[in-house]
Subunit: 154 residues, 2 copies
DNA sequence: CTGTGTGCAAACATTTTGCAAGCAG
DNA sequence: CTGCTTGCAAAATGTTTGCACACAG
């Protein structure tokens, strides 16, 4: 099991975005640039509103509306540059997809998140999808429990 | 991969609910009973609104509002009698928790959900948790893709 | 120039809440 | 009787959309 992830550089990330722009005849605007930068510099999980506020704080000179954040996140997600986790009624959380695929171990007491990656599980998932006639696009695997530190506090 | 699940009887399910009622000093109302029965007789995944409409159709003599459905589902979920899957903006789907643990294959086009269970993955998850010092309580695994029928429509 | 992108506000969809009346225990 | 439960409508929450103007290519 690998436990380290190589992040891509901002330039590479930006280039991927520009490629999407190019391929689809879209435009590279200052709002999109500000969102990309903020996103890259804040790799934690965030909601649409979180990101909106961050961008406004970091780039007060750029006028931006929450609709643009939603629209840009949708564009990025469709193209695999961010991924999201659904939180029920409370909306969605996003994270920049500049790391290889990984899953999450989540501590229910302290909220700590450990990322992991397991090839055997990935291939079993593929098998299951195939057996059911599904073409997989992505998946979500989250293991909830209590981390070592929190177990000892008890 | 097993594809069959043993369900508990309605009586046992009802008894579990009454135990919750008792323990918390709550009341057993006709609305709650109608919801429980409808839920038991319709083991598919459903949204709050689905269930609301079903109950109104099956028990037209009982007056019921959607708020009661939400409140009852929340009560049932807190106590482990139903479980839910978050579908992003499109809300949540619930299912009665009278089956052994299983995971889900979800079609992104039509929303169809297929259940599966895979022991190998379960034990790999245990290994991962152990390697990271976690005591697992539960997990979430959802595979997203496009089902056979939707692939053919394309 | 052309057509994409934007902010704004209104519209939407889903869920939650306040309230007065109903009813289980 | 007591206080949990209900339906209703209003409010809240999170997201999407219509529109006219801005601006990238």
């Amino acid at each position: 099991m690998k436990m380290e992830f190589t992040e891509i550089s901002y330039d590479a990330f930006l280039e991927m975005f520009k490629e999407i722009i190019r391929k689809n005849g879209l435009k590279f605007t200052s709002q999109r640039e500000a969102i990309l930068q903020t996103l890259y510099e804040n790799p934690e999980h965030f909601t649409s509103e979180n990101l909106y506020l961050l961008v406004k704080e970091k780039y007060p000179e750029i006028n931006i509306g929450i609709a643009t954040v939603y629209r840009t996140l949708a564009l990025l997600e469709e193209n695999g540059l961010v991924s999201s986790i659904s939180l029920g009624t409370q909306g969605k959380k996003f994270e920049i997809a500049n790391k290889p695929h990984h899953d999450h171990l989540i501590c229910e007491e302290c909220g700590k998140i450990i990322e992991f990656e397991n090839e055997k599980i990935e291939s079993l998932q593929e098998e299951i999808a195939e057996a059911n006639g599904f073409a997989l696009t992505h998946h979500l695997m989250q293991l909830y429990g209590v981390c070592k530190a929190c177990q000892q506090k008890r």
